[in-house]
Symmetry: D2
Subunit: 411 residues, 4 copies
Amino acid sequence: MSSTTPTTTDIDRARLPELLPLCRKLAAQFAPRAAAYDREGRFPTEDFGEMRAAGLMGILVPQSHGGTGANYADYTRAIEALAIGNGATALAFNMHNVVVGALAELDMEDVPGRRAQSLAACRNWIYDEALAGKVFASASSEPEAGPRLTQIKTKYERVDGGFILEGTKSFVSMAGHADYYLIAARSEQMFGDVPGISYFIVERDNPDVTIREVWDTLGMRATCSNTLILNRCFVPTERLFLLEGVALYKSTREPHWLIGGFNGVYLGIAVAAFEFLTSYLQRQAGNPNSPRRIDDPLVQHRVGELAVALESTRNVVYDAAERVVRDRGSLATNIAIHRAKYLVNELGPRLSSEAISLCGGSTIAKRFPLERYYRDSRCGGLMPARSDDCLTYIGRAVLGIDVTNPLTSYW
Amino acid sequence: MSSTTPTTTDIDRARLPELLPLCRKLAAQFAPRAAAYDREGRFPTEDFGEMRAAGLMGILVPQSHGGTGANYADYTRAIEALAIGNGATALAFNMHNVVVGALAELDMEDVPGRRAQSLAACRNWIYDEALAGKVFASASSEPEAGPRLTQIKTKYERVDGGFILEGTKSFVSMAGHADYYLIAARSEQMFGDVPGISYFIVERDNPDVTIREVWDTLGMRATCSNTLILNRCFVPTERLFLLEGVALYKSTREPHWLIGGFNGVYLGIAVAAFEFLTSYLQRQAGNPNSPRRIDDPLVQHRVGELAVALESTRNVVYDAAERVVRDRGSLATNIAIHRAKYLVNELGPRLSSEAISLCGGSTIAKRFPLERYYRDSRCGGLMPARSDDCLTYIGRAVLGIDVTNPLTSYW
Amino acid sequence: MSSTTPTTTDIDRARLPELLPLCRKLAAQFAPRAAAYDREGRFPTEDFGEMRAAGLMGILVPQSHGGTGANYADYTRAIEALAIGNGATALAFNMHNVVVGALAELDMEDVPGRRAQSLAACRNWIYDEALAGKVFASASSEPEAGPRLTQIKTKYERVDGGFILEGTKSFVSMAGHADYYLIAARSEQMFGDVPGISYFIVERDNPDVTIREVWDTLGMRATCSNTLILNRCFVPTERLFLLEGVALYKSTREPHWLIGGFNGVYLGIAVAAFEFLTSYLQRQAGNPNSPRRIDDPLVQHRVGELAVALESTRNVVYDAAERVVRDRGSLATNIAIHRAKYLVNELGPRLSSEAISLCGGSTIAKRFPLERYYRDSRCGGLMPARSDDCLTYIGRAVLGIDVTNPLTSYW
Amino acid sequence: MSSTTPTTTDIDRARLPELLPLCRKLAAQFAPRAAAYDREGRFPTEDFGEMRAAGLMGILVPQSHGGTGANYADYTRAIEALAIGNGATALAFNMHNVVVGALAELDMEDVPGRRAQSLAACRNWIYDEALAGKVFASASSEPEAGPRLTQIKTKYERVDGGFILEGTKSFVSMAGHADYYLIAARSEQMFGDVPGISYFIVERDNPDVTIREVWDTLGMRATCSNTLILNRCFVPTERLFLLEGVALYKSTREPHWLIGGFNGVYLGIAVAAFEFLTSYLQRQAGNPNSPRRIDDPLVQHRVGELAVALESTRNVVYDAAERVVRDRGSLATNIAIHRAKYLVNELGPRLSSEAISLCGGSTIAKRFPLERYYRDSRCGGLMPARSDDCLTYIGRAVLGIDVTNPLTSYW
């Protein structure tokens, strides 16, 4: 797991000096188990147990509340480090942090009186649960809408003491394994001229929630991203997440959690593929002309090409993450997040495919992890924002077209 | 299975009017069974049964000997059509034809007297076996040498009435399922300044042959390309294939069977992925701005890009195949074969990866064939000639450097 | 000028055995003069003089009428050969053939009685003029519309004995040098639901035609593609070209002349760049590790990559050209023409840019032709159909969307 | 000249708050003059006059010595800003700074006694001359060696009171215009196992220096990079630059001046091309379907793609520059410098070529600057390190191969 390349040592410059070594240690524990979880499509219970024991469920909970207090840049490096060991574990873990992270950034001063109180109560409860090792999952996508929030059909209506939710969610990572689900649902009501879409927290054991086990896929097999059915499911008032109707504004104004959280995960898988590549080549004999494969000029050249792709993507991912910390929600920051997402989307399939070419036929065997990287990395571009959405977003922004309107966005 | 695109109709222009319809019919039968064979890594016994029943084992046996008499161009189109149904089946079948095809092209007038007689006898026997539905497999690669013939370690020595073979072969498609194996082995003797490497035919049931079942891979899982061990295995004189010491000359002078046979197979997988893509998109609803996905300008553009990649690769593959028929073994023909191999190598992973991007997250589910195309197509570039070998070959050739010397080749 | 690469010898397989050798001989005469024409932006009068003397103005005039009778495939190879010597000369010459070629393909049986007579008269007159060495130029583009026919503003109206034309044409290659201009103009009338756009032939010396010399550009400097102003210019009835209102139908139904004629020209420039590259590298010394540059593995590899790009584009260009001969106007043929146009558009800038990289800094000097190829080749993608138009056309076609409607086309 | 894109505003975060506004102001003055200098291949005397007047010749002279004291990161942004106005001016100016910059970084404590004294004297003299507005030029390349220092043939020998230099230098930017030339020359002596190559400063008016005006090229025409001939030219002892024999060590241990100085220049040209592109598109009308060109989805997408390429290259260039400040000469820093050089090399030709595609045929006219960007940007990859050299360097480094040995380097 240890990197042999001088170019990746800078990962150490984190603000929280113990966080990255911890994540790397965990990743090294995940790695030997990853193949079995993948083959069986089984949830990585042991990985989550170790993360829970290490206090990682509170990674984004502020230090003032007893958590690790990682900011977006710290978190990006941490999730990258975890993904080196098992991308599916890191991806599932990211869904937990999407929930906590959005809360932790909340500036309570912007929220008017009474709402602030209930918001603070919800937040404190979530912080406490996370610190107690509870896991949250995010359930936004739907069978027909995909990840497009404006198209979702899951409805909610107000009733005494809470809400009733009805609908079907797909691609719910950790479905059946997380303790809570964050559900996006729409009301009849409009907020301004956009549909009123809100988030609610539902417990795993709510009797009106059913899981349908359909997750049998090319890659990311251990996330168990199954289908979740809400059958007139009651949610008490205090389980409203953030404020009512805020979902679409959030996704377009501050897209870093919804789309940028994936950047670290898929960067980590690419790092794993690259580290496999270089260490494999270093052990391989060449042909009579260049007895070591690493002395073959074409191999050096191709490895150099992939190193450039990897490290420049890393530069962009880190730059975007640091912009979030410095200047959250600005146009330049949001462009940077989409730029990073695009590059990460494209990097993984290309790098892992080229790595297979360079390593040769033996390395498509399941006893090596490379073929899993090839499969897992193909999934990154399917999560929002897709590559085309990223480019359209950036193109519009630099041409001076408004990109903050949810109705003309890719959501 | 039927193509909806006007650009693929030209596949019909074959010299043998019944061959392509037959192959397409078979492919349509293979397709629904392919997922199970893939999942279980099981040999496609039913597919081979149907091909055998249809007389396809004799596809390359001359009409004068009772076979179909397909030439290289006919064959390329036929194997492409079969691969649309199941790439692994087509790949395995190709290995059979590598054996028969090299024989069928043999110009007996070039071979001196006594040798011509034994050669003719061997050839007729192979023709008869093929017509009787027997399957030949090719065993060249080795654990350390990979596909590099000059590096193989399997040895043969002359004994009374035949030869003794000793060594280990890897990536032997249909190991345990084919009726015969074509084994490449080296003698102590040099032929000119190149190692004397010869081919021998060994029966499946030879007691000195052991199969080790190790094939558990990313893709092409149904080829059962296991390891084959020859433990001082006796082969009678009449099972010497072609002439002694001819292997390396053959691979560099007329590489179309050894490397170009793969072109049709992997082109066919790309065709299948493209046909899936267009028919899937045609059924998909879009977003409010363009209610059909196919009306989205970015979708049209991207599909156009992939169509160009596919059809131009097809142009090159067919051009190369027709050159083999017209001008076998010439430098221009061999360049064309390598050009086609390079483009096919690169096409598959790219096209299937982009198709997944375009179709979206649902299509990585195992109930669709697209994820299998993504995995299978990644294997094409691992078979000789690899992309870098193709480019080096072509670059040298156009710069006026001799590419016929086996010792400086990629073999 | 003679090719040193075995891959380009197939150019000889033309139907007219004397045509290609003639074109190559002329190209060899053009080459040493090209730099001066380029620098001064001067029309290649000598080149045209030699082509005229060789009878090339009648290359597309049927043999039955005394011409060379080249078909579209012959012509594509011929123009490619000429462009190797001077791309600007070949491009200008192509504009002449766009006029003659459309006529030569005309199937008179489709045209009803009286019109057929006047059409035949016009055609015979053009044939005679071409055979007499007269040069036709094509004037379609306009300052605002660019090449989009549906957007042109040049108007015509019927008057006694003919038509009055009024408007401004831009990018008129050979403006001031050709003997005649083919002018596209619109009437008030609609033909069906598309604007009625017709073509007229105007003489160079018509007093109501003015040339404005504005052509001072990056590349293709010797085409003198100046602006032409029609100031209520009278054209007699017999100078109506083809039939009234036919322009848009022609451009969408049979786009090979309007867009595919460029394929040979820009392919030829790419061939010239590639031939320069290989012959330059063959003369260059390398470094101590590989004393000849051509022995450097990276050089071989890169040259191989460019050879593949060049030759596969050539395969596609020839395939498209042969389809025009075999199956003119079919959807598959039109897709093939756009496929070829796209590949040629992309090939030139890339190949010439890479050739400069490989040859090194000395070769950007104006005493070498390579820098001109880099500039000239950049112009190919600007002529219709642009790369994006090609991909959209192909994408729509393979997705089953109608591409024959001029109003939704890129015209 | 002002950027319309939010993504480029971060250029303002420089340590020296007045430097970038100054450079941008100068660039705005350069821009309208650039076309004439380019056309005539004339040295940009006015640009240099303005830079001199603004004190920019001392940009790298430490503040303690009265200069601006820009560090490598400041300088990179400054030269980028200048290049937006005229790339040739910025490139020539960079050659001056290559001389001063190497000195300014010198850690005198590493140099033993007596040498330190003469080194300090030389440095102070150069600082004073720079502050007085004198311009230094760098003369390393040679007709046969190109930029490979190990291959140069210019010789020096010790004589009383100094050295005698003999040889020919090519690509000497500002030859005939700079006040001094920095000449690389070799002695008979070896330093360790590498050739002893040293630098000397020669005055413009030295009677044994002759300029041959040969610079007539595709791009960067105003740098006047002519040939310089040293005819037994005497140089006094005190004009030895740095220490004897240090050249090769410097170029491999701390390559940022020799190769990384170009990064800002060519990044600036790419910025200029991109800004032209977006502002041109914003003014253009579209077709009936999308009346503004910027509303065309394909345009947005393509612009997004180029924005990603530009901004991610910028991220990498700035990251590399900051590493030089933080950790000069480390392997990770040198890799970063090569990574940036590679991306900048590739960016320019691609971005300017695509910008021409998007803007359309009108913009190849010489009245627009875009065609000059296309020509100038093509020159970046010809200056060391070339793209292939960058990739080989990086590939070797990450595979654990020593890249500090000058004899196996690209120098």
